[in-house]
Structures are given as C-alpha cells and as structure tokens.
C-alpha cells in the first residue's frame, strides 16, 4: 500500500483532523458524548492509520514503543495521583471537592484530571497492543 499516492496523501491530510477530533472528544466530554476512553481510542486510531500507510518503522521513530508503554503506566498514576492529592488536601480519596473552593469547580478539575489519566492509559495501551501485533513476523514469511 506504500506506493499509493492517494492513500498516502489522504492519510497525511486526515491524521491531524483525527487527532484534533480526539482531543475535542476528550475536552468536550463534560458537555457532549465522549471522554477519555473514546478520545484515547481515536488518538490510537490515528497512529494506526499512519502506521498502516507509512509503515511501522516510520511511525515508531516519532511515537516510540517506549513512549507508549510509559503512557500506559503514566495514565494509571495520574488517575491514582488525583486521588492522593485530594487525600493530602484533607478529603476522601477521589473526593474532588477538595480541589477548589467552589465544590463544583473542584469536581470539574477532578473529572478533567482523571479523564486525562484514562486518555493517556487507553492511548498507550491501544498503541502498544497495535505495535506488538503489527511488529511480529508471521510464520509464513
């Protein structure tokens, strides 16, 4: 597929829009359907599209397997970290009211924080699994 001009140009044009859409889904998850999980999958889909068209090696130079593995773990740390922060501030674990004077603002920040954790983990996990499958050589080759 790597010689097809239309596919290559199409993927190049589409990828930024997919990534922007993913971020929109993440940050607009409070107001419309979506959130960290869906956004992470959409971002991973953008990486998968680029890898299918331009080859795995080219994409892995930009988004290294090490980086996505670190992402997968970092997201869980962010999520759990939000809980630890609220505990340090004197509230329950994951009690977002602690994060601001107005409880509703605190809830807002807390939700954004944990959704960011979900986004980072899901993105890291999806891309890691994709790399592992796509990077293996079949027995027939």
């Amino acid at each position: 597929m790597r010689e097809e001009v239309i596919v290559r140009v199409g993927a190049k044009v589409l990828a930024p829009f997919i990534i922007t859409f993913g971020l929109y889904v993440h940050f607009h998850g409070d107001y419309s359907p979506g959130g960290g999980f869906q956004a992470g999958v959409i971002l991973a889909a953008a990486i998968a599209l680029l890898a299918l068209v331009y080859g795995l090696d080219a994409v892995q130079k930009v988004v290294t397997p090490r980086f996505v593995r670190a992402c997968a773990a970092l997201g869980v740390i962010i999520f759990a970290g939000v809980g630890v922060v609220t505990m340090v501030l004197g509230h329950n674990y994951l009690g977002y009211n602690a994060l601001a004077h107005d409880p509703r603002h605190g809830q807002h920040y807390g939700i954004l924080g944990v959704e960011l954790g979900v986004l980072v983990t899901v993105f890291g996990v999806m891309v890691t699994v994709f790399y592992l499958f796509a990077g293996r050589r079949g027995r027939t080759q």
Partner: protein, 179 residues
C-alpha cells in the same frame, strides 16, 4: 430494521470461512450495534462501540490475520453437542427474564435506587451537563480507576505474551516452539 441487519451480519459471520471476510463482517456488526445504541439514546456507548469495535478491533484482527493466514480450517467435530448446550443455556436465560419487571417501566427498581439522585442532583453537585461523564468520573470514580487499571493490566498481559522475545535473537524457522 437495524436488528434484522444485525442478525443477518451475525448469521453471515457464522457461515463464512474466509477470515478476512469474517473480520470485515465483525466490523460491520459493531457499526450496526453502534447504530442500535444511538437509536436507543445511549450515545456514549455507541461512540465507544464505533471507536473500539468497528475501529481498533478491526485493525488488531487484521494484524492477527497477517500472522495466521486467511483460511479457517474445518472443525473436526459435529456442532450438535455445542448446539444443544447453547439452546439449553439460551432457554434458561430467556426463562430467567420472565421474572424481570417490564422493559422501560419507570417504576422499575433499577430506576429508583441511585438513578434519581444522579439525574436530579448531578448538575447542582458536579456542575457539568453530561450525566454520563459525572457518574463515570465522579460518583463512580473508584470503578473507573479500576477499569483503567484493568486496561493497563491487559496491556501488560499482551506484552508478556507477545514481546517476550524482544531481547533475544529470533529462533531459526522450524525450531521454535511456535510461541
């Protein structure tokens, strides 16, 4: 209409022996499910189904196909016993639903445990309009953290299974244990 298409896609999935067609049909099945969820006003679920089921899963299946070839071998046994097991289990499940309250009845217990509170108090307490997000990330924050951890654990499992030989030299063909 969507349900009919869904059933057709499911039956076709069973009949086809070419795995490439199976993967494509599974993607279509997911997309139809997403449409069904949208019709039932479960937009967040539909979104996830479309992105995960029809999007990423299809790519992962294609990656797996590249490893194992396009044709499914014929099953070595008759499907009679599995068919009986499936029919009995399905019958029991349908029988079990007889005791359930009517579908969509607003007086159902499930709508009156915590759901009232979530729907009425979500905006004053959390301040965001999307109730799904406020339940997911705030009221049920522990569950979501568990889910995130499960996703991470799944990735670790896949890594252990598939990337175990990263550091070693590839075995010569035919000598490996097929792992």
């Amino acid at each position: 209409m969507l349900l009919t298409l869904l059933a057709a896609a499911g039956l076709a999935l069973l009949r086809v022996r070419n795995l490439f067609a199976v993967v494509m049909l599974a993607g279509i099945y997911s997309l139809l499910s997403a449409g069904l969820f949208t019709v039932m006003d479960a937009v967040d679920v539909a979104f996830t189904e479309a992105a995960v089921g029809a999007g990423i899963s299809t790519v992962l299946f294609l990656g797996a196909l590249a490893l194992c070839g396009h044709h499914e071998s014929k099953p070595g046994h008759t499907p009679l016993l599995p068919l009986i097991v499936v029919l009995v289990t399905g019958g029991l499940l349908v029988w079990g639903t007889m005791d359930m309250p009517g579908f969509g009845d607003p007086a159902n217990p499930v709508h009156h445990h915590v759901a009232d509170h979530y729907i009425e108090e979500s905006y004053p307490e959390i301040g965001i309009p999307n109730v799904v997000t406020s339940v997911l990330a705030s009221y049920r924050g522990y569950d979501t953290m568990g889910e995130t951890t499960v996703v991470f654990a799944a990735a670790v499992g896949v890594m252990i299974l598939l990337a175990g030989r990263l550091g070693r030299r590839p075995q010569p063909e035919g000598k490996g244990d097929g792992g």
